[in-house]
Symmetry: C2
Subunit: 329 residues, 2 copies
């Protein structure tokens, strides 16, 4: 935190970079998504600029609006982040495999095997991100939590009292792609022991980020319009929850310091609803790839020190703001 | 061919080696499958013995009964031969990932990434097979037919008239696993140009092998019991056909030299039925892995020179023989 100003985060969800990259449609959506992210960052201006050249790969593209503005970030993986490459059926018909696609798309070319259409693993993605970006706070997480990768905790430190963390941000990998959409027992146990060790008296606020909503989201979901105590603007589909519940929610609800969980995944939902003593929130769909054409935006999260508060709202690509909610009360 | 004796092939289909390798059940099925293959080879004795030490990987295991008897072979890939590894959901519960499984199963261990549970590509499988086996006649096929790999042609040469091929055996990769279950337009075109070049006047018999039945198998499938003109012994399920038809069947039926197509895939079917001027045949399920508990066996294919004939029958693991059919008339 900087003295006298709150700590502010923008959540960019469901970016879907690199989708249908061999068509005209796909790359154009990536351009649109970068515009949406840039617009939100320019409206919220959470930090000053450190220009860094854009990289060519999709992950780097997705990071570019944040990086070019010199804003630190942290990533948590979603279900599209290590999906194996799927061969389009039409490539087996008379039109054949697009010959130009391999060098164009920066797929790995290995002499003997030709274009390599295999997917990139979460570990490779994360390693590249961390190695190439000074501003990344992402981590590959403990090995005993693999194949889940983006499992780590960041401390938000007070500028005025440097030894005092104001909040702990927990990132958990909710799977998907090449392995089940679930937060494992091992991840739940890791969160339990980390939080008990780092925050034994529950005085520091804990905020949780993962991609795929847990089953608890189904319990609190508004039925038709979004009404109090929920806050939000679109409620256009059913909660698409994780495949199983292996214990993380039970642990979260027992800790008074856990204030909120943030997820993406459902492009047509952007609400926050209370669940027992904490809030379950959706990010706002930011990407132009993937399904759904609801206007793009980003959920903003602001932590203030004196008095302590966690506030959230949604900043749209067109600059408008809505759905403000206090998550710390 | 050896002088005075026919050319004989045994078809081993749907072996399913390496399945559920972390359980007691899986490895036992591999033992059973090796026994079934060995029994058939000992009954049919198509060649003399050249002992070669067994290899440890599954593909090598599947080849071992043939190799240890010094019998040459050729492989054609099925839909399980490059399936990506699927994480069992129970590994994410409290029991966790079996720690001993990695070295036991010969998965690649790479220091930084830990046990590598990714699948093996068809190209890697084929490269290992060819590099390590003098008796293998398999090929990785032309690069422009990839990702389909096992696309190649073998000539069966007369012993008495050495320059005279008696039959051309065509192997085609019908996909599955990481890419669509289909024979592509490019493969169909490859067969057309190869066969027209190698056998312009259609004097040499052509026999075709691939794994997943084409849609034409549905048209000729017997409804209940197997009756003339079909020949076989089990008709226990519906034809599970390729996802699309990209032209191979039209090309095959136009060539008078194409005598028969052989597939596996349906463990509960073992019939041959005529389709226009050629025969559509199933192998007999040989493996103990995979679905179905019908008695195991192998379809045998015998090509005789004077007079020319293609005969086929099924040899069961218990030594019995049934379903003989002449495919050359």
């Amino acid at each position: 935190m900087r003295a006298g100003s709150p700590f502010k985060m923008a959540l960019f969800a469901d970016l879907h970079f690199g989708e249908d990259a061999w068509t005209e449609w796909g790359p154009q959506q990536d351009v649109n998504s970068i515009k949406a992210m840039s617009s939100v960052l320019d409206s919220e201006t959470p930090a000053n600029n450190i220009p860094i050249a854009n990289a060519s790969l999709y992950w780097d593209q997705a990071l570019s609006p944040t990086r070019s503005r010199g804003i630190p970030w942290a990533s948590v993986f979603g279900n599209h982040d290590d999906a194996p490459f799927e061969w389009p059926m039409e490539w087996f018909s008379a039109s054949g495999i697009p010959q130009l696609v391999c060098p164009m798309l920066n797929f790995t070319y290995s002499g003997e095997l030709g274009c390599n259409f295999r997917g990139t693993s979460r570990l490779q993605l994360m390693k590249n991100e961390i190695d190439n970006n000074m501003l990344s706070y992402s981590r590959s997480g403990p090995k005993d939590l693999w194949p889940g990768v983006s499992n780590y905790v960041l401390q938000v430190m007070s500028q005025e009292k440097p030894q005092t963390p104001l909040a702990h941000l927990y990132f958990l990998d909710s799977g998907g792609g090449t392995y089940p959409e679930v937060i494992s027992s091992a991840q739940a146990e890791w969160f339990k022991s980390m939080s008990e060790e780092m925050n034994p008296d529950s005085r520091i606020a804990e905020i949780i980020f993962w991609h795929i909503p847990s089953k608890a989201y189904k319990k609190v979901a508004p039925k038709f319009i979004i009404h109090k105590p929920c806050v939000g603007s679109i409620n256009k589909e059913k909660v698409a929850a994780q495949e199983d519940e292996m214990g993380i929610m039970k642990i979260l609800v027992k800790r008074p310091s856990v204030k909120a969980v943030f997820v993406g995944h459902n492009h047509g939902l952007d609400w926050c609803c209370p669940y027992k003593k904490l809030w379950l929130c959706y990010a706002r769909h930011t990407g132009y790839g993937g399904y759904g054409n609801w206007p793009r935006g980003s959920r903003i999260l602001e932590i203030s020190e004196e008095p302590f508060s966690i506030k959230s709202w949604i900043r749209m690509e067109d600059g408008t703001v809505h759905s403000e909610v206090i998550l710390s009360s």
